[in-house]
């Protein structure tokens, strides 16, 4: 056990930042922005320290902290990270500052008319982002199921307000062509809204209810787990290390039926969060109505908790049930992949299109996890990182585009390349990352997932590979319609990327290239964790028919 509570500090820092930001006086909203950014950057530093203090291949959970919390229920405040958690904390900490920078002016429109003196939307916006970060980080860190559950649920609250309160004002009114006008004198209806505000509210509530429902079912399963551990060990516990330990020494035997039910309860919640077909329908609404930075927060950060939790809780706690359910889950994820891609092709709204591509990509992640091979699971974990970075780069640029035109309809764009070449160029790089072009990060993870799946389930692997054609379709059709061709009316005076926007996109693109060319530093963290998980589920990689490598070295 580490004497210094590094993990607690990393989660607490953004939480403190959230309070500090919220406390900034109404008049000093720029201070609030910088303060929030400073806190997010400090969190990034801490995430970096976690990565350096962690020894890949060492103990399974490191930097652990453990304190009794609610002793009566066996709930402990237990933290610890494996390689996957380290990487995902890093992803979160990297993305949040970019989300803030991209959303620098997202709350400004709400500032224009103040109903009372305490009206502080800017402070609220940035504080909520920090709050989400804090909760996501602690969800990645906790090794106590109950502790995890609390934050898994609690993060819905700030997300709800981010979606419902700071919706996409740009999307509301295609007829308002000059977003510039809005900065000077935003029309009331953009703020208070009419039909659009209702849609936004609908999206936020849908997001909340869907996830709450998942959460409630998970709660039942969490309680079920408590019952089981109480029966088996004499004292109920939620501690993942304790349960694993007990199972290793043969003191835990869950009946197959109980394991399956509890597994399903957990999995349902994670599948809603991920989201997996057919539980995906909240995502397009939420991502469509939220501003682009908040949409990035949803899909690139918050949703990762769902897939992460499948790897950490479903597989480790319920190995037999995981193997039992794998065939069905694989099929569902395959449907997600193809279905998400086909629906993306059919979208007319840029942000909904992005949402459906995410559904397709989450399908890949879940496919990789449940293929139960080293390549599949390392690929899935790496996919979480790559999907986060690539979607952030793509969607944030899309957000810049949308806010300039005041519309998210694809048909309102055309010929942007001619007037804003930098915007078009960065959008193209993001697009290419999304379609998994070799040389950029997502290719590596996608190929690993495909190979990992193919080696155990050739047919599924082949079907999933069709997605590379579909991905090219949805990405390039969008690019063609928005960026190429003659310049459309309403686009002529579109400004190219500003410095702040370049600061957002540039590093993300550099990161995508780095992840594509040299992913080894990341896989070094992931591989040992995946190896442990695979041994939990008693799976080993299928051996090749002819071991050409061994034969060559034997020569």
């Amino acid at each position: 056990m580490s004497s210094f509570p590094l993990l607690t500090l990393t989660a607490a820092l953004p939480a403190v930042g959230a309070i500090a930001t919220a406390a900034v006086p109404a008049a000093r909203r720029t201070t609030a922005k910088w303060l929030a950014l400073a806190f997010s950057l400090a969190t990034l530093v801490l995430a970096g320290i976690i990565a350096t203090r962690f020894t890949p291949g060492g103990a399974r959970y490191q930097l652990t902290e453990s304190h009794a919390w609610i002793a009566d229920f066996g709930v402990r405040y237990e933290l610890g990270v494996d390689g996957i958690a380290v990487v995902l904390i890093g992803l979160t900490a990297v993305l949040v500052p970019f989300v803030m920078l991209a959303g620098w002016h997202d709350a400004d429109v709400l500032e224009a008319h103040r109903p009372n003196r305490n009206w502080r939307p800017t402070q609220g916006f940035f504080a909520l982002i920090l709050l989400v970060e804090a909760m996501v980080v602690i969800a990645f860190e906790s090794t106590d199921v109950f502790l995890f559950y609390i934050f898994f649920e609690a993060m819905l609250i700030p997300m709800y307000f981010l979606i419902g309160g700071f919706g996409d004002r740009a999307g509301a009114h295609g007829e308002d062509e000059q977003s510039k006008q809005w900065r000077e004198a935003p029309p009331m209806r953009a703020v208070v809204g009419d039909g659009r505000a209702k849609q936004r509210s609908y999206a936020a509530v849908k997001f909340l209810l869907y996830n709450l429902l998942g959460g409630l079912i998970m709660l039942a399963a969490v309680i079920g787990l408590y019952v089981v551990t109480a029966n088996q060990l004499g004292h109920g516990t939620f501690s993942l290390p304790q349960i694993l330990q007990a199972r290793a020494v043969g003191r835990m035997h869950i009946s197959a039926v109980a394991e399956r039910w509890i597994f399903l309860g957990f999995f349902f919640a994670f599948a809603v969060k991920a989201p997996l077909w057919p539980l995906h329908t909240w995502l397009p609404n939420a991502m469509g109505e939220a501003t682009a930075p908040v949409a990035v927060l949803i899909t690139a950060v918050v949703d990762k908790v769902g897939t992460f939790a499948m790897l950490r809780y479903c597989l480790q706690l319920f190995p037999n049930a995981s193997n039992w359910a794998a065939p069905v889950i694989l099929v569902l994820s395959l449907i997600s992949i193809v279905y998400g891609a086909l629906l993306a092709i059919g979208q007319r709204d840029i942000k909904r299109l992005v949402a459906y591509t995410s559904i397709s990509h989450f399908g890949f992640i879940i496919l990789g996890i449940f293929a139960m091979t080293s390549q599949g699971q390392s690929g899935a974990a790496l996919y979480m990182v790559n999907h986060g970075v690539s979607t952030a780069a793509w969607l944030l640029v899309a957000g810049f585009l949308i806010s300039r035109r005041g519309s998210r309809l694809i048909t309102d764009f055309g010929g942007v390349q001619k007037v804003a070449p930098l915007l078009a160029g960065t959008f193209l790089v993001g697009s290419l990352a999304i379609l998994s072009l070799p040389g950029l990060g997502p290719f590596v993870s996608e190929f690993l997932v495909l190979v990992g799946t193919f080696s155990r389930y050739p047919v599924l692997g082949v079907i999933a590979t069709f997605a590379i054609v579909l991905a090219a379709l949805y990405v390039l059709i969008l690019y063609q319609r928005t960026m190429t061709g003659p310049v459309k009316a309403g686009i002529e005076s579109m400004k190219d990327l500003r410095l702040r926007e370049l600061v957002v996109v540039g590093p993300l693109i550099a990161l995508l290239i780095f992840l594509g060319v040299y992913p080894k530093p990341i896989t070094n963290y992931l591989n040992p964790a995946v190896k442990d998980t695979l041994s939990d589920v008693h799976k080993s990689d299928p051996a090749p028919q002819i071991n050409a490598v061994a034969k060559e070295t034997a020569k």
């Binding site: 009566d72 649920e153 609250i157 709800y160 509210s201 609908y202 936020a204 509530v205 909340l208 209810l209 709450l212 429902l213 409630l216 709660l219 309680i223 019952v227 029966n231 109920g236 057919p278 539980l279 329908t281 086909l342 629906l343 059919g346 080293s374 390549q375 390392s378 290419l432 072009l437 070799p438 040389g439 190929f447 690993l448 495909l450 190979v451 193919f454 080696s455 069709f466 054609v469 090219a472 390039l476 059709i477 063609q480 190429t484 061709g485 003659p486 060319v517 040299y518 992913p519 080894k520 896989t523 591989n527 190896k531 051996a543 090749p544 028919q545 071991n547 050409a548 490598v549 060559e552």
Partner: protein
């Protein structure tokens, strides 16, 4: 010396990086940076070539391991290079022709405001193409493979303000992706079969794998090759790709990238040799495309599209040869190299003509240009003689060998394939003579209707003129290659001896003597030439295309390939996606909402919740907490 291999790729990659991120301040010198780094790569290539020649045949393979790329358990992908005679041949072709085309582009793109980016993309292409031929494993090859696809996409769509260019670029990428799917699945099968996808061990142990696996891998690789090399059934993108600037058509869509499929098959020779079914499929694809491209080439009035049909057809020859196995590999590559010279030269000539004719591409509006642009006329003419296989010129040596090899396959197959190859030679003579006559001979058909056009926007009168030196010098150099390369390669079978250690070679058994086949080739050539002269030399070329026979009209529409794709794929796809969008909203979302409603009346609350959400959330949380407490109490009782 081995470390220089990385620099081959690195130099143009650096150029791409500088040019694409350097910004406007590089506009004035950017194109020279691009040329310089292409030339540096060529110089390194020559250096390595000299070094390689100094070693004995078996010891010529050089390797260079850079770093471990993707290591996950037994999946070990490395960034490492392998330079053997086959790769070397490509390196010299790519960097040599590439440098010439860079220089040509300095003149050709002189007035384009995005010239710097153009050179950035060209450099990017060189880097990717070199990566493709230098990789020592299939996954890294795949990176180069898609990299050239990207460069091709960017360059076809370079004038993306034109909707046709943007559409063509997208089409090329997507059709190629279908092929890429084949290649990626092939890599997966290799991994599960051999535990690796590095050339060395895979090819060394190819024969230990089952016949089904090998055939599968072979067919998947062929699918990849069909995409990249525009072979039937994935050929439909190449004609449209002519939307790109002409130097792009010369470099990427004629001399280098589109031949990557031939490289892939030749490189994977050990797999194909052990999988006769896959080999047969390769030869069939080659033979069909050979005729397909040639027929399309006969009907096109757009000079670039006629040449594109020809490219397709010539690559069909190469694929056919590669499918013949060890009797054909060397000749496939030899034809690839000579084709690289003469086809690049022909395209550059076409570009020069367009340059002098206000970017007109319709050959019916050319005519009599030989006196206006003599250098273009001579260099294009030499390329023309080379491609039709005029005795002594490059194409004669390489194409003739393929025809012989096809006959040498033996049996009925041999007769059919040989016959097709022979027929193709005749059609080649026809369509190339047609291009030559329509462009450089006959009456001038330009500058007439432009003046007469009533009410239309007055087109500036074309003033055909010779291109600047930056353009003519590369054309002259390529013309030298078109004339002499084939002969040079054939002296003492030098090319055969050079490549044999890598690809292997066996002599086939001809059913008739070689002299008979050569004579037949010449006769067919003369017939094709004569027919073309009768139609386009003796008679005046009409300025408006006649309606033509059914076949001609079909050929003008690329033998209805796009129409087929539209009906069979595009339309159903549109209906499918539209239908799904509808179903997702009404059925999936509806079902989930409906389930929710029936379970807990959630749907009704959904509506009410729009105002009182915090309270409701609190209620939900309370419900959860109550459950928890109840459960705990229950537990205590247990």
């Amino acid at each position: 010396m081995d470390h220089l291999i990385g620099a081959l790729v690195g130099a143009p990659l650096l150029g791409a990086g500088i040019l694409l991120t350097g910004g406007r301040r590089l506009d004035r010198i950017g194109h020279w940076i691009g040329c310089l780094l292409a030339a540096v790569s060529f110089a390194i290539g020559v250096l390595l070539f000299a070094d390689m020649l100094g070693k004995s045949g078996a010891a010529r393979t050089m390797t260079s391991h850079l770093f471990s790329w993707v290591p996950v358990a037994s999946f070990q992908a490395n960034v490492s290079f392998q330079l053997d005679q086959l790769s070397m041949t490509f390196v010299l072709l790519i960097t040599g022709v590439g440098t010439l085309i860079h220089i040509y582009s300095v003149g050709y793109m002189e007035y384009d405001e995005r010239r710097r980016q153009f050179f950035g993309y060209l450099n990017l292409f060189l880097a990717a193409m070199l990566l493709l031929v230098l990789a020592d494993n299939y996954l890294l090859l795949y990176v180069g493979w898609e990299g050239v696809g990207l460069a091709s996409y960017l360059l076809i769509g370079f004038w993306q303000h034109k909707p046709s260019a943007a559409t063509a670029a997208k089409k090329a990428f997507i059709v190629n992706r279908v092929g890429d799917m084949g290649l990626s699945i092939a890599v997966m099968v290799m991994f599960t079969t051999f535990g690796t996808f590095t050339f060395g061990p895979v090819l060394a142990h190819a024969t230990s794998a089952s016949q089904a696996k090998l055939t599968g891998i072979g067919l998947l690789l062929l699918l990849g090759a069909c995409g990249k090399s525009a072979q039937v059934p994935l050929q439909s993108w190449l004609g449209d790709a002519m939307e790109g600037p002409t130097p792009v058509s010369a470099l990427i869509h004629a001399a280098t990238m589109v031949t990557a499929g031939v490289y892939l098959i030749t490189r994977s020779g050990a797999i194909f040799n052990a999988a006769p079914t896959a080999q047969l499929a390769v030869t069939v694809v080659g033979a069909v495309t050979l005729l397909f491209g040639a027929i399309v080439g006969c009907a096109k009035d757009d000079i670039k599209k006629a040449l594109a049909g020809s490219t397709m057809s010539q690559i069909g020859y190469m694929i056919l040869a590669a499918g013949l196995g060890p009797i054909g590999y060397v000749f496939a590559i030899m034809h690839l190299v000579t084709h690289g010279f003469f086809k690049a030269g022909l395209f550059l000539g076409a570009g020069s003509v367009m340059h002098g004719m206000n970017d007109e591409v319709d050959m019916r509006k050319y005519g009599g240009l030989r006196t206006y642009m003599p250098i273009t006329y001579v260099t294009f003419g030499l390329g023309y003689l080379a491609i039709i296989g005029f005795p002594g010129l490059s194409g004669y040596w390489s194409k003739d060998k393929i025809i012989e090899a096809a006959f040498a396959k033996g049996g009925t197959d041999g007769w059919i394939l040989g016959g097709v190859a022979l027929l193709g030679a005749g059609i080649t003579a026809f369509y190339m003579t047609r291009v030559m006559l329509m462009t450089f001979f006959g009456d001038k058909r330009w500058g007439r209707e432009a003046a007469q056009e009533p009410g239309g926007v007055a087109q500036p009168q074309p003033h055909p003129h010779e291109a600047p030196k930056t353009m003519t010098i590369p054309m002259i150099i390529l013309a030298f290659g078109s004339v002499f390369a084939g002969g040079l390669f054939s002296i003492n079978s030098s090319f055969l001896h050079w490549l044999q250690p890598v690809t292997g070679h066996t002599e086939g058994h001809l059913p008739v003597s070689a002299a008979v086949i050569q004579a037949a080739t010449l006769v067919v050539l003369a017939i094709g030439l004569g027919l073309a002269w009768r139609q386009y030399g003796r008679q005046a070329v009409p300025a408006v295309a006649p309606r033509g026979s059914l076949l001609t009209r079909a050929a003008r529409r690329d033998l209805l390939q796009d129409d087929f794709n539209h009906v069979a794929l595009v339309k159903p796809g549109e209906y499918l996606t539209r239908g799904l969008v509808y179903l997702d909203h009404s059925l999936v979302d509806g079902a989930v909402n409906g389930t929710a409603a029936s379970v807990g009346g959630l749907s009704g609350r959904l509506r009410r919740l729009q105002n009182g959400y915090v309270r409701s959330y609190a209620v939900s949380m309370f419900g959860g907490a109550a459950l928890l407490v109840a459960a705990t109490l229950l537990m205590r009782g247990v």
